[in-house]
């Protein structure tokens, strides 16, 4: 135990902080809008903030079927394995976020605006309240 003082200390601190961040920032402080989806499949690893997708904003403008049937979004947070290549190629978000129907991909921070290390999940969902995700980020 004593020997870990120097090298292990930083690691332990990081783990502790992550746990604290999850416990406090995530569960208690988070007052996210119902249906907000955080997508953090690749963002953290790439040094980018995770994406926050606001369902409420989009359902005012589109019926569910436009994304979930026509564009092929699965009903699963993080389940579509979206990356920027696909978006620029016109798939998923890129079907609209192309500068034509909606603003295009150079507005990085409008989507990538989540707090770092926020795990992939549908916020305020029943399942989120029943089962708190075990690990920090990425699934």
């Amino acid at each position: 135990m004593k020997s870990t003082r120097v090298s292990g200390g930083g690691l332990l601190a990081a783990i502790l902080l992550a746990v604290f961040a999850l416990l406090f920032a995530d569960v208690q402080d988070a007052q996210a809008e119902y249906g907000d989806v955080v997508i953090n499949n690749y963002s953290d690893k790439a040094g980018m903030r995770p994406v926050v997708f606001p369902h409420w904003f989009h359902r005012i403008r589109f019926r569910c079927k436009v994304c979930h049937a026509d564009l092929g979004f699965k009903f699963k947070a993080g389940g579509n394995e979206i990356n920027m290549v696909k978006i620029i190629d016109g798939q998923f978000c890129g079907a609209c976020h192309n500068g034509d129907i909606a603003w295009s991909v150079e507005n990085c921070n409008l989507c990538h605006s989540g707090k770092p290390n926020t795990p992939t999940q549908v916020h305020e969902s029943t399942i989120q309240k029943l089962a708190i995700p075990a690990g920090p980020a990425k699934k």
Partner: protein, 340 residues
């Protein structure tokens, strides 16, 4: 004069001996609780016996250390080290114990260094260094007495404040409906919602939900917007096609009644409201077999995000709104109605 001083000392000793019995010493508390971080400097905690660590934080004097220990700090010190069962005196005793270890190298800030803070803790810890400091106390004759009583008197509000800080709602611990999200915490703008990073410009460019919800019909759950009614009354006009604003959805008007167990009203499933938003292929056949009676659905499955729970409890109204689905009253000859 001298006799009187001893009398006060004795009286105060008697006063504090009772609670002191039940209390753990500063050293005990330190080794059980504080040492987790303060022995190694975990998470940036000032290390036990490292005068430099403590000097860097000594600007506010002992009082400031007590406050940090009791109420926690933004840097990561949890209130009372996360052990809310400790009394204020025990926490202060532990602080004293840690400060005693760096006493020689410690240069406390002037602010609260003098009489009140030191005198206050005199009875709590059993340790060594306090005796020396207690001596100057009698000189300002009447002052020490109230100061010595202050731990009891002052600890009560401090404990309440600390407990309140730990309560999820941040208010009264025994507040009514303390687990419910208070009205002021609903539909927060992105910078305050806990998942957006407020340090990014993008977060501040986003529309706050309430700016959009103002004119929409209300509900009691989810976004607190009745989306179906909003669509019905043309308060919103979401496109049915990505590009064509005039495309109309294929709406199917067919109610399916599901008989359910017990006294709960049967479920009426309206295709109409669902097909306003969704395509047949969204549900059929992956989630629901398009054959009446062939789908096994339970509330447990829905709660876990299956069947209806693929949407209800995530984006569509959650299961708290029982009667929106369970809406067809059974004709029940009271006691005999069972099963099904």
């Amino acid at each position: 004069m001298k006799a009187r001083y001893f009398a006060t000392l004795l009286a105060s000793a008697a006063l504090f001996s009772v609670p002191a019995l039940a209390q753990q010493s500063g050293k005990d508390v330190y080794s059980k609780v504080c040492a987790t971080c303060h022995a190694t400097g975990l998470a940036g905690a000032p290390r036990y016996g490292n005068a430099a660590d403590w000097n860097a934080r000594a600007g506010g004097g002992v009082g400031r250390f007590y406050q940090s220990a009791l109420q926690g700090t933004a840097k990561g010190m949890p209130a009372k080290g996360g052990h809310m069962t400790l009394s204020d005196g025990e926490v202060k005793g532990a602080v004293d114990y840690m400060l005693a270890a760096v006493k020689d190298g410690l240069k406390l800030g002037k602010a609260e260094e003098a009489a009140p803070a030191k005198a206050e803790t005199k009875p709590e810890p059993k340790p060594e260094p306090k005796k020396a400091e207690a001596k100057p106390a009698p000189t300002p004759a009447p002052a020490p007495a109230p100061a010595q009583q202050s731990p009891v008197a002052a600890s009560a509000p401090a404990a309440i404040a600390a407990a309140a800080a730990a309560a999820p709602s941040g208010g009264d611990v025994n507040a009514f409906n303390r687990m419910l999200k208070p009205a002021g915490k609903r539909n927060l703008p992105p910078p305050e919602d806990g998942i957006h990073d407020p340090t990014v410009d993008g977060t501040h460019a986003l529309q706050p939900p309430l700016a959009a919800f103002g004119t929409l019909p209300k509900s009691f759950a989810g976004n607190r917007v009745n989306w179906v009614e909003a669509l019905d009354k043309n308060k919103i006009s979401p496109r049915a096609d990505r590009q064509d604003p005039n495309a109309v959805p294929v709406v199917m008007d067919l109610n399916v009644v599901r008989e359910v167990k017990g006294s709960m009203p049967d479920v009426v499933y309206p295709h109409k409201q669902h097909t306003e938003w969704l395509d047949c292929s969204n549900c059929h056949p992956a989630i629901f077999n398009p054959q009446k009676g062939s789908n096994v659905i339970s509330m447990a499955a829905i709660l876990l995000g299956e069947k209806c729970g693929v949407c209800h409890g995530k984006v569509a109204f959650p299961v708290s709104e029982c009667r929106l689905c369970h809406s067809k009253k059974k004709e029940m000859p009271a006691a005999t109605a069972q099963g099904k």
